[in-house]
Assembly symmetry: C2
Homo-oligomer: 470 residues x 2
């Protein structure tokens, strides 16, 4: 056991207090996720009103479980939680508790605040760590552990780890990741809830030293230990990307954030400066968060800021250029004269090669082979650091064949290739093929450009702090 949070993410056994056969109950969903996603540890349902749930023996109390219990999920109503904590403590073997139940300090009532205080006191005295209360749970895809009350979703393993201050956003990120052409692979996921004990800083530190985690994805509204958080992040970002979606950007948003989590208004510039200093990648929306994480987790960072736009559709290509034109720290790549000559020879006669420099519109006459050769040629260019490939495949160019050509051309590239097939259901399977081959796809040219810009910015940050190594 390297870190106390391992008790939550690598339990050999989990007890679910409040396990239920009623889909309207939190204990139903937690048990369902534990049992249907492939977790191989022991699962113990606890509910005095049931003999058996889902073929498992149901225990009347935690005290009756004979086997060892590592993690306890508590899903009973708030008023029943403290007696359960007594049972937890009495067992002696439990190291970790997640209090899913709501109705504590977040109610801002005297009673709720007092109950949470007592909860903390009991746990502290026993040396037991806790997530919550009002917490939707944790996930570790590497052992197929899903302790959450979230909908049961298809989960792929990957190098992204996620945590959120908001339960709604934690769930939304999980479901958004699943809704990608193929479910976006991730490693660990956590909602911190009321943070009576484990807080965002703990999780950040943990993910920072976690071997399976390369990209950390955070939704936050307020930072209680702002300085320590930023200092920790600053160490982590030397090795791993840290993406933060932080709302409350103007007066209206700040008022809503204050009402939600008590974050103070009017500090967005301060956060912005702190993020920059800590090497944190700030993302502006859910799609940007998922897209940037997808790009960074599937592709290498560019070595520089020189980007080539390769399109077969002038409209979407121009959209990409409009977006790229917004960023001063990124530039179009210089294609060598030789490269241009080779492209002109290989592409359809109407192809627009480097008009302007670094922009290639190979036109709708481009077939599979044209795409393959064009991508190979630009990737081979010394002054190209990354490529965005855009297509609205016409009916005579089956998207699946196009995907095969792109995969073939990009297979040995040490440069990021981001692809946009902008044609709805027509390209769905092709997008799945690309993502299975490690090539991220995006809904729009603008989203691909923004992801590429974030990759360039990360490279520029690393160059600055590390003098160009890595």
């Amino acid at each position: 056991m390297q870190h106390f949070l391992d008790n939550f993410f690598y339990p050999d056994s989990v007890a679910v207090v409040g396990a239920s056969k009623n889909p309207g109950k939190a204990g139903y969903q937690v048990l369902k996720n534990l049992l249907t996603l492939g977790y191989e540890g022991q699962v113990y349902p606890v509910n005095p009103r049931e003999e058996e749930i889902s073929g498992l023996k149901c225990y009347a109390s935690l005290r009756e479980i004979e086997g060892k219990v590592d993690l306890v999920m508590i899903t009973v109503p708030a008023k029943a939680v403290l007696p359960v904590i007594d049972d937890v403590v009495a067992r002696g073997d439990v190291k970790a508790v997640v209090v899913v139940s709501a109705g504590f300090a977040e109610t801002k009532t005297e009673e709720g605040i007092a109950m949470e205080k007592e909860l903390v006191a009991k746990l502290k005295a026993a040396g037991i760590r806790a997530f919550g209360p009002n917490c939707t749970g944790v996930i570790n895809t590497s052992i197929k552990l899903d302790t959450t009350i979230e909908p049961t979703v298809e989960q792929n393993k990957g190098p992204i780890s996620i945590f959120s201050q908001s339960g709604g956003m934690a769930g939304s990120i999980l479901l958004w990741a699943e809704a990608q052409p193929i479910p976006l692979g991730f490693h660990k996921w956590a909602h911190v809830g009321n943070m009576c004990d484990v807080n965002t800083l703990d999780v950040l530190e943990y993910y920072g030293q976690d071997e399976g985690t390369e990209v950390i994805l955070i939704y936050m509204e307020g930072f209680d230990e702002g300085r320590r958080f930023m200092e920790t992040a600053r160490e982590i970002t030397k090795e791993k990307a840290v993406l933060v979606l932080k709302v409350g950007r103007n007066e209206l948003g700040s008022k809503a954030a204050y009402s939600h989590t008590g974050t103070l208004a009017g500090q967005d510039e301060i956060y912005q400066a702190a993020f920059r200093k800590a090497g944190i990648t700030r993302v502006d929306s859910m799609p940007d968060m998922i897209d940037t994480a997808k790009a960074m987790s599937m592709q290498p960072l560019p070595k520089g800021n020189r980007i080539c736009i390769l399109t077969e559709a002038g409209g979407p290509g121009t959209m990409a250029m409009d977006e790229l034109g917004k960023y001063k720290n990124v530039t179009l790549a210089n294609i060598s004269e030789e490269g241009q000559k080779a492209l002109k020879e290989a592409m359809p006669p109407m192809a627009l090669i480097c008009q302007p420099q670094g922009y290639l519109d190979i036109t709708a006459a481009a077939m599979e082979e044209h795409h393959k050769v064009a991508l190979e040629l630009v990737l081979a260019e010394e002054e190209v650091d990354g490529v965005i490939l855009i297509s609205v495949p016409p009916t005579f160019l089956p998207p699946e064949s196009l995907a095969e050509s792109i995969i073939e051309a990009a297979k040995d590239a040490k440069k990021p290739v981001l692809t946009v097939l902008m044609a709805g259901k027509w390209v769905h399977r092709a997008r799945q093929m690309l993502e299975r081959a490690g090539l991220p796809t995006f809904d729009t040219p603008e989203q691909a450009v923004r992801a590429m810009v974030k990759m360039v910015e990360r490279r520029q940050y690393l160059d600055k702090v590390k003098g160009g190594e890595q």
Copy 2:
């Protein structure tokens, strides 16, 4: 026949020259779309190398077709087009031709330009109108007519009509519209191609007077007859919304647009001013274009600019507020003291009512009935002009039940209700239910806010030009 373009959009019969059994040919796809989407007119395949295609008699030449031919689709290679035009002219009954074939003026070769000139001369002499060359076709969902080379997609009827200067974007819009929770309903669709005859101004005028069209959706890069186009649009926008996606917004984008369609760089401010004067709604991206069209085609315009944000998830609610805070011409609605009292009584105890004013976070404890009552109460408020409802439905609130509650509460509303269920596949069916009931859904809070802002701006424009009538 009211307008010459009726010959394209309401033909009783269509001949497809170059009809083919080979999926790699344009003539294959045109025939497939005509035959599989339900068009009830006569379809005549023309190809001297086939006896029969898809169970239809195939004619060796246009001249051999005994029945009347209204519209001719030409899909043969460029060099074979002029002889086909001779056949068209010789028949005497054809009023409309779409030249799908590429290889004309767009090649910028002497030969291509000369061929297009001759094509125009022949058609003009015979009084026959033409779309193209290099044109992907037209669609009229009201008679299930699809003459295009686009992928065969599910098409719903609706009040939106679309045209595009770019074939790629024309196709992309079609496919994007289909990829909504339910395919976005539209009326007519056209790609103008090289505009050797019919041009964007013709189509704009036609859609402007078209009874089934309420929202006109345009992708353009350049405006050859800019002044007339804007004057025409200015008349139309008094009655119908005109949405334009116009790229080339900065130096890079302008260079790409110039390379694509010859649009001059550096004129974005001029366009922007012209759009504003003409009452054109400018949209900034594909998703914004589809979202705004969806909102305007499914919901009434707000009577004013006072918006209520109703959320059960603080994070996404704050995102909506951040986005709303960007626009000076939109404001949060004032909820009356009585309304606030009623809301406080009906909502879960932790609900945040009007913190700040016009913003309601009814929390994840809100069940179906809470959503229904909250939406009914805010819609009944005199000073609320529109509502954005946001949810990440927890597992104990089945999204389909939530959708039913929203539909029930919104059913008699004379105010726009835009909904955001931000939870991927988990809410897909619920989004379909909402959209079938006429309630548009959006992927993100920001997209819903932007659509609402565009609706407010349209209302403000109408108030200005019409003194508040409508």
